[in-house]
């Protein structure tokens, strides 16, 4: 067995383009697994992937090392295309985020959707909160919506790109209430917050952890939360639904995919790993520390989610005036 492994390893080292080895029942990876992420070191996906890799190693769920590889560029499409090129490769997985789903909807250059890859597991849903400056006149979500109705287009929200969740939330709220306010894109989170704290915009959608810091500093107030159930850190803030706005909760989603065309045994293996992984105490603590929601779904469910999410997004983006290309 050991000799066979050695020969196999030597063979792989010698000829990189060697196709996947024949897979037997109860397959296990025998050489380091490449974990592809689309952000640079320190980016959201990179941080999560490295954290998950080290937790999996600590829990000894995989016998080999998980090596994070940064394939940046193209808003995630470079990483997705890289995975698609590795068709049938059993030693590679990737971490996707919502941008892998929305980017192909708006950019013709991005050709690979999650449908072209093998879905393995959905891991995380990131909640968010709706915040205003602490001296703003709005005490509740209703105050804000009513003010926006009275003077359409004068209130402003700072956020990310037009396809980001920030704008999606705005579109949904505007559609369901008939209120209208402006949406101003800023590339960096710091600029969005500065715009709010400087009083140049009136509202923003923000990560709970970051909002927490500014609430402690006394500079922000939270009106509602975008989550499926109330966050531990904001027990007294209503969900959008509880505040009277029953719009779909748009999740910021993260999970795992594999290259297309991998044998069923390999998919089963990876699904098994993550199924076990999400039940570990380490992972649960990590979710709590980062104020994430547990979003676990297996590959088949994730695929269904991908379809409904894409259809939903494409409609919302069309409403927002974005050209949808597929």
């Amino acid at each position: 067995m050991r000799i066979a492994t050695l020969i196999l390893a030597a063979g792989i080292a010698g000829v990189v383009a060697l196709p996947a080895p024949v897979v037997a029942q109860g397959w296990k990876p025998t050489r380091p697994v490449e974990v592809v992420v689309h952000t640079g070191p320190g980016g959201g996906s990179d941080t999560l992937a490295r954290a998950v890799a080290s937790m999996i190693e600590k829990e000894k769920l995989v016998p080999v090392r998980l090596q994070v590889v940064n394939k940046t560029g193209g808003n995630g499409s470079v990483a997705a295309a890289y995975l698609a090129e590795k068709k049938g490769d059993v030693n590679t997985i990737g971490f996707f985020t919502g941008v892998w789903l929305t980017n192909p909807l708006v950019a013709t250059e991005a050709k690979v959707t999650l449908r072209e890859l093998t879905t393995v597991a959905r891991l995380v849903l990131e909640p968010a909160v709706i915040a205003v400056k602490s001296d703003a006149p709005f005490k509740t979500m209703k105050d804000f919506i009513e003010a926006a109705k009275k003077a359409p287009g004068t209130l402003k929200q700072s956020g990310g790109s037009i396809t980001s969740r920030d704008n999606v939330v705005r579109q949904l709220l505007q559609k369901s209430t008939g209120a209208q306010w402006a949406y101003i894109s800023f590339p960096g989170g710091g600029e969005r917050i500065s715009a709010l704290l400087g009083g140049h915009v009136n509202m923003m959608v923000i990560e709970p952890q970051e909002a927490g810091e500014h609430i402690r500093a006394g500079s922000m107030r939270v009106l509602a939360q975008i989550a499926s159930k109330r966050l531990l850190s904001f027990p007294n803030v209503p969900l959008l639904k509880e505040a009277g706005y029953d719009v779909p909760v748009v999740p910021q989603v993260r999970g795992v995919v594999a290259p297309p065309g991998i044998p069923k045994e390999n998919l089963d293996y990876w699904e098994g790993v993550f199924q076990k992984f999400v039940q570990t105490a380490t992972w649960k603590k990590y979710l709590e520390d980062n104020q994430f929601e547990d979003g676990y779904q297996n590959g088949a469910d994730l695929l269904k989610f991908v379809d409904t999410f894409s259809a939903q997004m494409s409609e919302i983006l069309k409403d927002a005036g974005v050209k949808v290309v597929r």
């Binding site: 640079g40 070191p41 320190g42 980016g43 590889v69 940064n70 394939k71 940046t72 560029g73 193209g74 808003n75 499409s77 470079v78 295309a81 980017n103 708006v106 950019a107 013709t108 250059e109 991005a110 050709k111 287009g153 402003k156 990310g160 790109s161 037009i162 396809t163 402006a182 949406y183 101003i184 894109s185 800023f186 590339p187 960096g188 989170g189 710091g190 600029e191 917050i193 500065s194 715009a195 704290l197 400087g198 140049h200 810091e213 005036g321 974005v322 050209k323």
Partner: protein, 503 residues
């Protein structure tokens, strides 16, 4: 945070052994690249930036800044010994420094350069420490119109001081704007100038452009001839490095002049350290009782510009750390670094990351002391570097450039872009197009388009928002005046004089 507690915590960060080590590495490398002609701080920082990903951001910032101000110490050595500026900011030092060396006073010139650099460098950090925190608070009231006006002012200054031909500087800047708009538009998700490449959906990495234009372009130019710049013998008798009491007395005013002028010039967007050293030399000459001796080897003619270009570092970090706006090629790369490490440059940076800001400030006090030690007694050792053969050095720079770009994205596409920008950088040098406006056009242009569109979204399409707010109105007026300078004959002569001395 109160300055005393801030500085106290800052020293706690900077005195951590690991940070002391990186500070030393930074100033040491800085001295080396300062001494080597044709290898400047922007190229070095751009090449090393990707390698800092594995370091703690505060350590990385301490090291990269160390290269930035360390190079200004090293640059004077080459100016004095070879009459060739080791880096662009030391040009003016050639005038009197080389003459002093020819008269056998190389030791005093090198000594006073290090001392002036130390004094003014320290004053610059002091200024940074005192000015940045309140300015950041004030800048919180800046909204998109003010940022737009600031970018316009910055680009106007860059163009004004960039090169002999203003048309070419403007054209270089416009090419920068073009590159800045490549990729997915933030506001509408439209793909612009991607040529159907998915790699270009999020634009061209700034590091690729910076390394291509600064490092590769420069080296291609240097490789045109087989001969390396002629290395003159390093004059002996460097034992007597300490200037005499009379020298110090002659330089009293130069120390103050260099410190103040350097800092103020640094804070202004677009002016940069070369301009700072020129202005301070000009002032020194104007007020001197022995005006006619300037250019024949007077010691204050070395102290003033060397002081100014070091004090400028502290000044240049002010807009970078308070507004997130770079004023020069080097600070543009430091801005890219901050973003890559996950910081959000802007008025909240100091408040949210006091460790980074105060750690950097404290490390700069320490770094200046290290540099004084490195550049006073050890200058003869560093001077030997001028003998390293170029046929070893240049291939190494190519290698580091390739590695630097590859580490950012592991992408062969980015390497092919690097080749394209290397060629562009070379052609720009050959055809006399200045590089700085292009790189700043790339950095500021992106932010400028955003600020303009944000402003007009806020005002629902009303252009008067740009002039109705007092701060932005004032800055726009200054920007227009700046661009009108070449129209007025006498002022234009001054401008040309400033640029002439750079060549």
């Amino acid at each position: 945070m109160d300055i005393i507690t801030g500085l106290w915590n800052g020293f706690a960060v900077a005195l951590a052994p690991i940070n002391l080590w990186w500070c030393f590495v930074g100033v040491f490398l800085g001295t080396i690249v300062g001494i080597m002609p044709g290898l400047g701080p922007p190229a070095t920082i751009a090449m090393l930036l990707p390698l800092t990903f594995q370091m703690a951001p505060a350590s990385a910032m301490i090291m990269l800044s160390g290269i930035y101000y360390g190079a200004k110490y090293g640059g004077s050595t080459t100016s004095i010994l070879l009459n060739v500026p080791g880096e662009s900011a030391s040009v003016v030092t050639c005038l009197d420094g080389y003459q002093m060396a020819r008269k056998g006073r190389a030791g005093a010139a090198l000594g006073i350069a290090a001392i002036a650099s130390f004094i003014a460098g320290t004053v610059g950090v002091l200024g940074l420490m005192l000015v940045a925190p309140p300015l950041a608070k004030f800048a919180l009231s800046f909204s998109s119109p003010e940022y737009f006006a600031l970018m316009v002012l910055g680009l106007a200054m860059v163009v004004l001081l960039a090169g002999r031909s203003m048309i070419k500087a403007l054209l270089a800047m416009l090419v920068g704007l073009w590159i800045a708009t490549m990729g997915t538009d933030l506001f509408s998700s439209t793909s612009r100038f991607t040529f159907g490449n998915m790699e270009m959906l999020d634009g061209i990495d700034f590091v690729v452009v910076a390394i291509g234009i600064f490092a590769l372009g420069e080296v291609f130019c240097n490789m045109e001839t087989r001969e390396s710049a002629q290395v003159l013998p390093v004059p002996k008798g460097l034992r007597n490095l300490l200037p005499t009491m009379q020298d110090l007395k002659d330089c009293r005013f130069a120390f103050i002049n260099g410190s103040v002028v350097g800092f103020i010039t640094g804070v202004l967007p677009g002016a940069g350290s070369t301009i700072a050293s020129f202005i301070s030399y000009g002032i020194e000459k104007a007020v001197s009782k022995r005006r006619e001796l300037f250019g024949t080897g007077v010691i204050e003619g070395v102290a003033a510009p060397e002081g100014a270009n070091n004090s400028e570092t502290g000044g240049a970090l002010v807009p970078l750390l308070t507004l997130g706006i770079p004023g020069s090629g080097t600070t543009a790369i430091l801005l890219a670094a901050l973003v890559l490490w996950g910081f959000k440059p802007g008025p909240l940076l100091i408040q949210e990351h006091p460790d980074l800001f105060w750690g950097l400030v404290a490390s700069m006090y320490i770094g200046n002391v290290m540099l004084l030690v490195l550049n006073l007694p050890l200058v003869p050792v560093f001077a030997q570097l001028l003998r390293l053969p170029v046929h070893i050095l240049y291939p190494l720079i190519f290698g580091i450039s390739i590695v630097g770009v590859y580490t950012v994205s592991s992408s062969l596409f980015d390497l092919s872009m690097l080749m394209a920008f290397g060629l562009l950088g070379y052609l720009m040098r050959k055809l006399d197009y200045p590089a700085a406006p292009m790189v700043l056009g790339l950095v500021l242009g992106d932010a400028m388009e955003r600020a303009l569109r944000q402003s007009l979204m806020m005002s629902q399409g009303d252009l008067t928002i740009l002039v109705a707010r007092p701060i932005s109105a004032v800055m726009l007026v200054i920007a227009v005046l700046v661009l009108l300078v070449p129209v007025f004959g006498s002022l234009n002569r001054l401008r040309l004089q400033a640029i002439e001395s750079e060549d």
